[in-house]
């Protein structure tokens, strides 16, 4: 590999494809440098926003120009990958806005480190989204996960945060090891790590199958699907809420992006198995959430259920969904709606949670409609969207997932899935009931919420989420026409 090959590798198209990653990395470095000189500390916020917006703009332009598969087939920047990329940038931006002024005094000096870590995650996600090569995916996976391990335990003074961080780290590493060993077995069987080539050679023999199984296990871990989902409630509840928002939206989307690319590895007859796993995940997620009293932990369980719902799309494709891009459209729109809804919901929780853990229990939400009518209304909208009620993005997402199932002929899984989301509404409504229909306990009624400038970015982000959720529900053509 001499320099000429290197230059030849990085031809004009490759540069264009990789530009967003480069932009984000540059921004990251500038952010790091800003930490060195005291004078530049104030610039922290604007740098983060600028980097993310610029990165987002570049991804959007890739969406239009479609550079396609570059760098010797290892990374693609086609419309799908760019769309996912856009989603990752948005998820990170929302999470960052909600983390603004979220931390108490003892963590505030480390705010810069927090932003640096948070800014690296979109790079990892984009790599995962566009990866056409196992190595690229693995690198992306680690670039995403390692900062999240650190972010999860960011509030060192709280035992829960450290516990969440460590749990996430250990199990994450464990799963990453599974991924590695799986891909090594696949490599042993097929001799290549390029997805395209693996596809050409096909998955035959016990070695390859075992490899795919391990690989899928780690992906299912990341998506938090049935046997691998147990870590989610503890980690989501323990880590700081903006980080949870990022985890719930960003990581899931990235894992799904890759799963859709790697779906060819699954044998067709696995469709029923995947459908069963998906339905069991939905059931466990919804039923588990029903038993929760803490809203944040409940939203964690609901995240598991939504992961199950999106997995149904994979089952649909395996069962032979006639529509070519069916799975991609459904997953992309569903995750799009889910990103705005979940980020919004977690964001509002973060907003309410200013002073300690007390605010995320259902008990403390009682009578919120009187104290904070706008926040209550937005949270109700998010709950309805999570439940999939029309006039919200969630409904159309659910519609497209079920239609991919129905087109593939899996009628009964669709009906069971539909009925499971009735259970989901059982606990989403509980939040609405607490806010609107139950009187506030006197202790909560007394506390005055934190007003003032510091809450401005968070309310802005929540507002953006609410608008997007509504627009995706009422005027979906803006998004549907642009799906790849």
């Amino acid at each position: 590999m001499n320099p000429q090959d290197l230059l030849q590798l990085f031809d004009e198209r490759a540069i264009e494809a990789v530009r967003p990653l480069l932009a984000l990395s540059a921004g990251l470095i500038i952010l790091l440098l800003s930490g060195v000189f005291d004078g530049l500390k104030a610039l922290r916020g604007p740098i983060v926003v600028a980097t993310l917006l610029f990165g987002g703009w570049l991804t959007a332009s890739n969406f239009v120009t479609q550079p396609g598969v570059v760098l010797d087939g290892t990374y693609s920047a086609d419309r799908a990958a760019s769309a996912w990329g856009l989603l990752f940038v948005v998820a990170t931006l929302l999470a960052w806005l909600f983390s603004h002024h979220y931390y108490a005094e003892d963590e505030r000096p480390f705010q810069l480190e927090h932003d640096v870590l948070m800014l690296t995650t979109p790079i990892g996600m984009m790599l995962m989204g566009g990866a056409q090569n196992l190595i690229v995916f693995f690198v992306g996976l680690e670039i995403l996960s390692i900062p999240l391990y650190a972010l999860a335990s960011f509030r060192r003074s709280r035992a829960r945060s450290v516990e969440a961080g460590l749990k996430y780290f250990l199990l994450g590493a464990f799963a990453a090891a599974f991924f590695l060993y799986g891909s090594s077995l696949i490599y042993a069987a097929t001799g290549t790590v390029q997805l395209a080539e693996i596809k050409a050679i096909g998955i035959h023999g016990p070695l390859a199958l075992a490899g795919v199984a391990l690989l899928m296990a780690s992906l299912f871990f990341k998506i938090s699907v049935f046997p691998f989902h147990l870590w989610v409630p503890d980690v989501y509840q323990g880590s700081p809420t903006p980080v949870t928002a990022l985890m719930a939206t960003g990581t899931k989307a990235a894992a799904f992006a890759f799963l859709l690319n790697a779906m060819f590895m699954l044998p067709a007859k696995a469709a029923v198995l995947v459908a069963v796993v998906a339905l069991v995940t939905m059931a466990l997620g919804n039923l588990g959430a029903l038993a929760q009293t803490d809203v944040k932990r409940m939203l964690a369980y609901s995240g598991i259920a939504h992961a199950g719902t999106v997995l149904l799309v994979v089952a649909g494709t395996l069962a032979g969904d006639p529509e070519s891009g069916g799975a991609l459209h459904a997953a992309l729109f569903y995750m799009g709606a889910y990103v705005f809804t979940a980020a919004g919901a977690f964001g509002l929780l973060a907003l309410l949670e200013r002073d300690g853990e007390r605010f995320t229990s259902l008990e403390s939400l009682k009578g919120l409609a009187h104290r904070r009518p706008v926040v209550a209304a937005a949270l109700t909208l998010f709950m309805l969207s999570l439940g999939g009620i029309p006039a919200t993005g969630g409904f159309l997402g659910k519609w497209m997932v079920f239609s991919s199932l129905v087109r593939a002929g899996l009628i009964w899984p669709a009906v069971i899935g539909a009925l499971l989301s009735v259970i989901a509404l059982g606990y989403y409504l509980r939040v609405v009931i607490a806010m609107y229909m139950q009187p506030a306990s006197d202790r909560d009624a007394a506390t005055q919420s934190v007003r003032g400038a510091s809450a401005m970015p968070a309310t802005l982000a929540a507002g953006v989420c609410a608008v997007f959720v509504l627009v995706m529900g009422v005027l979906p053509s803006l998004f549907l026409d642009r799906l790849p």
Binding site: L214, A217, F221, P227, F228, L230, A270, L284, G288
Partner: protein, 658 residues
Amino acid sequence: MGGTWLLWFVPLLPLFGAAACGLIHFATLAARKHDANAKGPSGLAPVVACAAILGSLLLSIAAFKQLAGLPADARVIESAVWPWIHVGSLQLDISLVVDPLSAVMLMVVTGVGFLIHVYSAGYMKGDPGYAKFFAYLNLFVFSMLMLVLSSSLIGLFVGWEGVGLCSYLLIGFWYEKGWPAEAGQKAFVFNRVGDASFLIGSFILIKLFGTLDLSDINAAVAGVSADPEKAWWLTVGALCLFGGCTGKSAQIPLFTWLPDAMAGPTPVSALIHAATMVTAGVYLVVRMNPVFAFDPTVLTVIGTIGALTALVGGTSAIFQRDIKKVLAYSTVSQLGYMFLGLGSGAFAAAIFHLVTHAFFKGLLFLGAGSVIHGMHDEQDMHKMGGLRRHMPKTFVTFLAGAAALSGLPLLSGFFSKDEILAHTFAHGGFYFVLWGIGIVTAAVTAYYTWRMVALTFFGKERFDHHHVHPHESPALMWVPLAVLAVLSVFGGALGLPPVFHVVHVLEHWLEPVTAPGKALLAAHGTHELSHAMEWALLGLGAAIALGFAHFGFRTYVKGVERDESVQRNRPALADFLVGAWKIDAQYYAKIVYPSKLVAFVTAVIVDQFAIDGLVNGAGGLATATGNRLKLLVDGSLKSYALWIGAGAVLLALLWMFV
């Protein structure tokens, strides 16, 4: 007056009257809001009400005259048609028609109705709901006129349920006392049971003839005999319609509401439960005589039920202590006679008895009302006696009515009842049994009628003189009594038996209406009576009437010893008869209480426990499994990792081997 809207004014005048009285009532209520016992305009109500009925009466007389002028076969006056329900091919319209039958009914309803309105003006004076009473009374006459005049079954049904409603409102007029409201409700429910069967009958007629227009149906009946399946439906339809009649005219299964209906004011009993509403069933059968005459078994059923009702009604009246209860059971009995007449195909005779019954029963009720009025609302005959000296006018008119009711010779009751018995006898075969029952009931009727007269007007004055000072009723009340007395005595002229070689006025008059039914019956054999047999029957009837009347009068003229002795040594019999053969008690035991139990079972066991249990169970199951699943997430790192490892191995195995 044909085809014009004028005929509509016959029923509409009472409707406007009712509306006016309603407004007057609300005006009095408003006036009474400021000053508690203000009279307000309620005095105006009787005038408006009586004027409305009088207008209707005059129009009816005009219609009657115009009808009489028309040739025999074309005696029909039709009114403009009100298009009611038009759905696809089905046309259900309401239009009024005056033909000989409805003309007769018209005269009875408006005539007797007017007299009763005048009487009520006096009887109800001073009652807080004075105007409301006249509003209901007028509304009743409107409904009855709709029932009698309407040319289609659907219009008839409007009147049919309308009278049921008014009887509910009027029985429960003094609702503050509580039990009249229950009596009213009982009456309405019994009527509703009958109406349900009536509805099914109307559906069958639509199924067979596609229309509910009575004249079309009567004409089309002949064509049904060809198709056996249609014939079966027509029989079932006729029986269903008759089911409706039993509800309205208080026949065997559905008659127990009539005695309780005495809870209403007496003019109500006179008008509704003697003269008009209860005769609706008879009118319906005569109006649709071809439908009923088509299958002889239907007439047999009608006849049997009529006879049995007569027997039960008559025997139940014997030991009643309440004067109005005696008359109520007597009405049930006399209605049984009318249906017996219909059963034996004597449509004209049934109508004849209906008319005469309206006269003398109306008279008796009003007389009883005047007695009660005089005795300050005392209705128990054991606390009366010797009133003939205090109320001479009421006494004389009451006597005429009682004589007519008991069938003393030459009076209206005698001729109408015996004509029915003659026709039943002529029918022969099974009808002999019915004739026997009829004769026994005639005897019983005479007995209880003169028992009543004796206990009320003769014998020792058994009331406490300090509180009760019986006095004669005002002119407003005894004048109608006098008019009705005259009609009861000379009413017989309407239908003298053929033996007298004088034309039977009513039979001749109703010929065009009853002809189709008679023709169908003739197909199953005609029944003629020789003159000798007729004289024998007339003699027998007169003898029984006179004998038992004397027997009844003699035993009770001295006082109530006979009642007390029966009460003492034969209490079971007395109780059995007073309770109308315990039929009502059976209804409560067999139907009312079990239905309450079923209601309880459905509401608590089936609904709350079973179905709702399932629903709540599903919810509970979800939360329960949720709680159990929660334990799966036990917080320990090890178990999570175990699940991950096991999951990966599971996936691998499944893919390799499935």
